[in-house]
Amino acid sequence: MKSVYIHIPFCDNICSYCDFNKFYYNQNLVDEYLNSLKNEIKTFYTGELINTIYIGGGTPSSLTIKQLEKLFNIINIFNKSDDFEFTIECNPENMNVEKINLLKENNVNRVSIGVQSFNKNILKLLNRKHSKNQVIELINNLNDIGINNINIDMMFGINIENIKTLDEDLDIISKLNIKHISYYSLILEENTMLYINKYIEQDEDTNFKHYEYICNKLKELGYNHYEISNFSKKGYKSKHNLTYWNNNEYYGFGCGAHGFINNIRYENTRSLTKYINKEYKLNSEEMTKKINMENEIMLGLRKLSGINKNDFYKKYNIDIYEIFSIKKYINNKTMIDDGNNVYINPKYIYVSNEILVGLLESSE
């Protein structure tokens, strides 16, 4: 079973923190893009059972009803499993009841809403165009129409936030009764409006304090902290994202998409012109066993439950302790072995790179 990621690189507004692959919405381009996307999927998809589909962006919800219909038509190609998860990313300001109905009709069963914050000043700094009420209305409508597996993407680590603004956001979240929350710390990337405007990053100590605060609050609200930045109600982990974190294979379709199929990791062109001209692949690389094991570590330890030792052995036919110096980190208590799984001590999950660098070095 495999997963599918489909990238829709169009936005009608550019957020100040985003350096992801995206273009201003343009009617004609979108149609040409969807044609090429259809061609790409037809060319490369080999008919296996698909477990999860994730339409991300960009802003998939910026497409018109007609374009969305066309997109869903393309997606019909996939041979879906019985319990498949089908997620689409939405921005509150370009959703309406008609679009939600369309999603429902096309078997979309999970919606991920780009919220980031409910605070006006923060939304302004991030150049987001929606209001708190639009988010609440969208969530209500989704629930009414029967899509209740809802994620909201939240953001923290913004220099103007404080415990009070966090509390206000978390208070609103507590009333929304949503199933899944991604709470990402802002990453300042080059080639973003924030960077150009010389945004000053929040300091390390405050950032960690806020992270801890959020983790604790969400735990109180009954969410399970299962990945560095992800929280879910019982039974509502993101199956699609778990594909990534379990180092399982997935198709990546669309401009700038990444995929991992038949042991080859590939990256699609980021040029819209090339993509429309059906020049899809930018580069691809076959994974060695060593790189796969390293990726398994790098991705698997993002999960609070870490890596199952038996699964690792089954996959690579070698004991995980033989490859990586996990012992060292168990000894200094930054990692834990509970008998079945090895994982990063939650206290140190926010400095996980430090551990990963050490583990990767030990495999050399």
């Binding site: 990621y5 990238h7 992801f20 994730y54 991300g56 680590g157 991604s182 990402y184 710390s185 990453i187 390390e204 100590d205 950032n207 960690f208 992270y211 560095i228 930045s229 990534y244 997935y250 990546g252 998409a257 990444h258 995929g259 991992f260 990791r265 990256e267 990726n295 790098m298 991705l299 993002r302 200094n332 930054t334 140190y348 999950i349 926010y350 400095v351 996980s352 790179n353 430090e354 551990i355 990963l356 660098v357 990767l360 070095e361």
Partner: protein, 599 residues
């Protein structure tokens, strides 16, 4: 060549006053080197010398010059321009009868001008004062002339004006060399005595000695003997430099040249030693010989421990060309296997370190330099300590003595205050002050050498806006109330960071060192206390806070390349760190205890 047609001379100058360029111009205008062959500053053959604008190794070149229709042979003996190499300079000067004292027309007399002049005078040389760089727009020839007259006592008509850049005055200078400098003394019929003033290493021929024949002669069939080391060798070949090597049958009294005698190691050749003939030994060696004495010591360790043997090879190779470099294996609990190395001074240390890193591609950690302490134990035994870790426990020490230097600090009068403050800060004892003219003074202090090792140059430069020039001579050992200060990371002593300090200054130093380390050492997974201690007493403490964040919050749409790149970058960064216990320390931390900013 008749002895009375030979002139042997050196050029002495402060750094950057144009010594090497002047030498180049002399080579060129005597036709010794054609313009086509001329590289800038031909005599400085090492890249590092060229870059730093200083001369490290000496060279001697034979020039032919026609004066009043008669042929003369001039030997130009180049000297290193830095205080670290004073002994080498003094031996080069001893091989000459005269010296050109070069002063920059814009800058006037500086500290090394004077130090070198004194060395020349000690050797009874005829001095020709030269004002160089007269082509500079900011040249103040009259002022520099006054300095030469008033401070150094030259007559106005002795002074020769040159521009090594344009060639102006070079002929007058060459004429003056022939007219004023005496021909070599000594007698070809006396028993042979030749002064070794330098040596170079040739991988095929071994150590090659540069010599001045003071008495008698040496032929290519002679067996020679070193009068101080008592070693004997058969001469293989000998000759002169023009500047290329030219073989000759013999070198005679008054001449300057090279001798090769299958000497395997440069350490067997002692600069200042006297060569005589094995079968007809001179009665007395030439005066002035001193064994090479390293003044500054430090530990040198490879960052990657497996490069230890490469480091040994590098030191062996450098030693071939540099007899003054000494080293012996040393083990540090913190840094592993390395070498304790002795240097003539700080510049020498820096040069060797840089050459190892550059020519042998070994990343190094150098520990804080130490001087040599003479320690008398309570049981009366006297020991020599060249490393803080070798200092015995306080209870066992009756007396510690440390080397002192006397300074020449040339500075405009408006900076007298800051310079005195600095010297006072460095435990200096004021001696006196000479006025060069109304605007400049030469300030004399006695200061412990160990204080010069610590950031003295930098602070002198910054407190005088770069106007001060500085030189020193060693004046001997004096008792001091010294203690060893240890640095503890995570409760463990890092031996490589220990230093010896004066008791009264320990508290301030300790505070600065721990602060500096806190700045330099990045946050670690766990909080790391940094302590400075004397004996069991903690005199300063601070903490490196635990790292709070090192995470990639999001893996976008299955793109794992970003994360891999980030981790690769961090991995590379870690390779530049040294793991000490559980603490990762950047290599620069070990020398940082030296360069303490004033706050």
């Amino acid at each position: 060549m008749k002895q009375d047609k030979i002139r042997n001379f050196s050029i002495i100058a402060h750094i950057d006053h144009g010594k090497s360029t002047l030498a180049d111009r002399i080579l060129e205008s005597t036709g010794t080197v054609s313009q086509r062959e001329m590289k800038e500053q031909l005599l400085d053959s090492m890249d590092l010398e060229r870059e730093r604008g200083i001369t490290i190794k000496l060279n001697a070149v034979q020039l032919n010059y026609k004066y009043n229709n008669e042929d003369y042979v001039l030997h130009l003996i180049d000297t290193p321009g830095h205080v670290d190499f004073t002994y080498e300079v003094s031996r080069s000067l001893a091989a000459c009868e005269g010296a050109l004292l070069v002063v920059d027309a814009a800058q006037g007399i500086e500290a090394q001008t004077l130090a070198n002049l004194y060395l020349a005078m000690e050797n009874d040389l005829t001095i020709i004062p030269v004002i160089n760089k007269i082509d500079l727009p900011n040249a103040d020839i009259e002022k520099v002339k006054r300095e030469l007259k008033d401070t150094l006592g030259f007559d106005e008509d002795e002074i020769i004006l040159t521009s090594a850049k344009t060639g102006e005055g070079i002929k007058e200078l060459l004429d003056a060399i022939v007219e004023r400098i005496e021909p070599p003394k000594g007698n070809i019929n006396n028993k042979t005595r030749a002064l070794i003033f330098d040596s170079v290493f040739d991988p095929y021929r071994g150590a090659i000695m540069l010599v001045r024949i003071m008495d008698g002669k040496i032929s290519s069939r002679d067996k020679i003997k070193m009068m101080n080391t008592k070693a004997s060798y058969d001469v293989v070949e000998l000759g002169i430099n023009s500047p290329k090597e030219v073989k000759k049958e013999s070198l005679v009294c008054g001449e300057v040249g090279w001798i090769s005698a299958s000497i395997k190691s440069i350490s067997d050749v002692k600069v200042g030693d006297t060569i005589t003939l094995d079968n007809n030994e001179a009665d007395e060696a030439l005066p002035g010989y001193q064994p090479m004495k390293p003044m500054v010591f430090c530990g040198i360790y490879p960052i990657e421990s497996n490069k230890y043997t490469l480091l040994r090879d590098a030191l062996d190779k450098l030693k071939l060309n540099d007899a003054s470099l000494i080293y012996e294996p040393e083990t540090s609990e913190a840094l592993g296997f390395g070498y304790r190395c002795g240097f003539l001074g700080l510049l020498h240390l820096e040069i060797i370190q840089e050459r190892i890193e550059r020519e042998f591609k070994i990343d190094l950690i150098a520990t804080s330099p130490s001087v040599i302490y003479n320690v008398t134990l309570t049981n009366g035994q006297k020991i020599v300590v060249d490393s803080p870790t070798k200092l015995p426990e306080k209870q066992k020490i009756a007396l510690i003595e440390e080397p002192y230097i006397k300074t020449n600090i040339f500075v405009p009068t408006e900076y007298i205050g800051p310079v005195m403050e600095l010297c006072q800060d460095k435990r200096g004892n004021y001696i006196n002050m000479d006025y060069i003219d109304k605007t400049r003074v030469n300030i004399h202090y006695e200061i412990p050498l160990s204080e010069i090792v610590y950031d003295f140059f930098d602070r002198l430069k910054s407190s005088t806006k770069g106007y001060a020039s500085f030189d020193y001579e060693i004046v001997g050992y004096k008792p001091s109330d010294l203690v060893r200060m240890d640095i503890l990371l995570n409760g463990e002593i890092v031996d490589a960071l220990s230093i010896i300090v004066h008791k009264d200054f320990a508290y301030v130093r300790g505070k600065k060192v721990v602060e500096k380390l806190r700045e330099i050492i990045p946050r670690q997974m766990f909080e790391v206390p940094i302590q400075a201690t004397i004996g069991n007493k903690v005199i300063a403490r601070t903490d490196i806070k635990a790292m709070r964040k090192n995470v990639l919050a999001k893996c976008y749409g299955g793109d794992i390349t970003r994360k891999r790149k980030l981790l690769e970058k961090q991995k590379e960064g870690k390779k530049k760190m040294k793991m000490i216990g559980s603490v990762e320390i950047p290599s620069e931390a070990f020398l940082s205890v030296l360069s303490m900013d004033e706050k």
